[in-house]
């Protein structure tokens, strides 16, 4: 006995096609909204701030006068900060991921660690600021230095990098591991020669996303005690500094209307730095990415 009646199928077909189209439209609409928001944001920022961009802007320090206000201290400060955050978070993050994926015995303890790492990714950044204040600024007496802020930020983005790196390592096909072990390679040799090169594209994507978040976070910096206005450039990791998001926040909260323009210009500089970081990642990805 047949259960599927052909006439019923034909009758229902139109309705099904309509539902299909409706949902396609809804999803496209959702995408369009997101894109629209992005386009409006970019347009507003660029149109407002582009006029203020100049060499002076990049080489001046902050000032009470909007036309003399420059972003030099904040830009250099952010670069110093990234110079501490990037190696710390990537080395710790990838190292943890390698341990969890390749060395740890899968059991209750590992599951527990895994759960905690995933949960940490959702903790508000302010909390990490408090953590950094207690441990790095006070207990280790690093003060409100680049090092203290850098370590704090590294902890903030560490869970994201660990998870991304784990995913990348997990996605390396088991048959490549089999081939390597089958020839008498040690675990370390297999990791360095086969697994890591194959996982680099995924690791880099996750790292750049994480670093992009770090460069824009303000709350932890405020709690750690990073100043907003400084009139000098840091010379070492123990010096204090200021960062792009803090400077931008300061400008945008000033009463003079001209400072909004200055803030917009600052945002453009921040976006350019982000783009630059992204392109480095894309470059390294392409070097390592041999397609499967």
């Amino acid at each position: 006995m047949r259960y599927i009646e052909q006439e019923k199928v034909v009758r229902r077909m139109n309705g099904r096609m309509v539902v299909n189209r409706v949902f396609q439209g809804l999803f496209m609409f959702a995408t369009a909204l997101a894109l629209l928001a992005l386009v409006i944001l970019l347009y507003r920022i660029v149109s407002q701030g582009a006029g203020h961009l100049s060499l002076d802007f990049l080489t001046n320090f902050a000032s009470r006068f909007p036309d003399q206000a420059g972003i030099k201290a904040a830009l250099v400060g952010s670069i110093w900060l990234m110079a501490v955050v990037a190696p710390t978070s990537i080395l710790l993050g990838v190292g943890s991921a390698i341990y969890l994926e390749e060395y740890a015995i899968k059991g209750r303890i590992t599951t527990f660690i895994q759960m905690n790492i995933s949960n940490l990714a959702g903790v508000p950044s302010v909390v990490f600021g408090l953590l950094g204040l207690t441990i790095f600024v006070r207990a280790l007496a690093l003060g409100n230095s680049i090092l203290a802020a850098g370590f704090t930020m590294s902890l903030l983005i560490l869970p994201v990098i660990i998870v991304a790196a784990q995913e990348a390592i997990r996605s390396v096909p088991g048959e490549l591991r089999d081939a390597s072990y089958g020839m008498g390679a040690t675990k370390w040799q297999t990791i360095v020669r086969i697994i890591l090169p194959a996982a680099i594209p995924g690791i880099l994507t996750g790292s750049i996303l994480a670093l992009s978040r770090a460069i824009g976070e303000t709350a932890p910096l405020i709690v750690v005690g990073i100043p907003v206005i400084i009139q000098f450039l840091p010379e070492g990791v123990m010096d204090t500094f200021t960062a792009l998001p803090m400077q931008i926040y300061d400008w945008s909260s000033r009463p003079q209307a001209e400072f909004q323009t200055v803030a917009a210009a600052g945002i453009i500089v921040l976006m350019v730095v982000l783009l630059f970081m992204n392109s480095i990642a894309v470059f390294i990805r392409n070097k390592f990415d041999k397609s499967y």
Binding site: K106, Y181, K290, S291
Partner: protein, 273 residues
């Protein structure tokens, strides 16, 4: 008085009524048991594998033949819940003893897998991987090893102008021969092959079967195969596995023409499996 000397050539692929000189055992398996968790996958396996011959392992799906093969180079231990008991002697040394490093065993016993698995590197780097991890850095020596291995796998002429190309850019059959060359590059003593042609087309299969016949002069080969005709064609001895046990193990022609056990006969004639 002159004595005449008669030179007799014994073709070892054919059965002779003269008592065969027992070849030295490459692998001696004694009372091997293996469990995947609670699943008793290998039961009291006793097997002697001979030197410089092709030993085929046949049997229906799930009978333990791949498991047994992977125990010979301890690759089965990559699965976390594996437990073993019993002994496997490789050239007189128990491979399970703690002083026998698993990496050392695997440089003497190479493995070719069912699905060709070259690394996402150039053909040259694939072959040079083995020598490099064992400390060989001299480019000239590596060049020689790469050529010798590719010739040994009968694929030198096809790829000699493409050594720096990615190994993923060649056909499946060629990739499998690259994997064989890669194994040859570590200069092993034994080569384990886990259904090496089951993912390949008939022509590549034939090329690899011919290769196996050539290789047995220098290496001892143990090949797991689903294809009974293949076992009959290329092997000297055949072991029939069923439900984790060795049912019968004998010269190939005996197994296929005059098996001692009814279950072997049923499997050979296609009544099950």
């Amino acid at each position: 008085m002159n004595t005449a000397t008669i030179k007799t050539k014994i073709n070892t692929a054919q059965p002779t009524t003269v008592e065969q000189v027992e070849k030295e055992s490459v692998y001696s398996t004694r009372q091997l048991n293996l469990w995947y968790g609670n699943n008793h996958a290998l039961k009291n396996i006793d097997l002697e594998i001979g030197e410089n011959e092709v030993t085929a392992i046949i049997g229906p799906s799930g009978c333990g033949k791949s498991t047994y093969l992977k125990t010979l180079n301890r690759m089965v231990e990559l699965v976390p819940s594996v437990k073993t008991s019993g002994e496997i002697q490789y050239r007189g040394r128990n491979i399970f003893e703690s002083s026998y490093g698993v990496e050392e065993l695997r440089t003497r016993v190479g493995m070719v897998f069912q699905k060709p698995n070259p690394f996402p590197k150039s053909i040259y780097d694939n072959i040079a991987y083995g020598p490099r991890i064992h400390g060989i850095k001299n480019k000239k020596i590596l060049d020689e090893i790469v050529e010798k291995s590719l010739r040994g796998a009968a694929i030198w002429d096809e790829v000699k102008d493409r050594l720096n190309e990615n190994a993923y850019g060649i056909s499946g059959g060629q990739q499998q021969r690259i994997c064989i060359a890669r194994t040859l590059a570590i200069e092993p003593d034994v080569i384990l092959m886990d259904e090496p042609t089951s993912a390949l087309d008939p022509i590549s299969t034939l090329k690899i079967e011919e290769l196996v016949q050539e290789l047995k002069e220098q290496y001892s080969i143990i090949i797991v195969t689903h294809n009974m005709q293949q076992a009959a064609r290329i092997s000297d001895k055949t072991a029939f596995f069923l439900n984790g046990e060795v049912i019968e193990y004998d010269r190939t022609d005996t197994i296929f023409s005059n098996p001692a056990d009814k279950r072997t006969e049923d499997y050979i004639s296609g009544r099950f499996g």
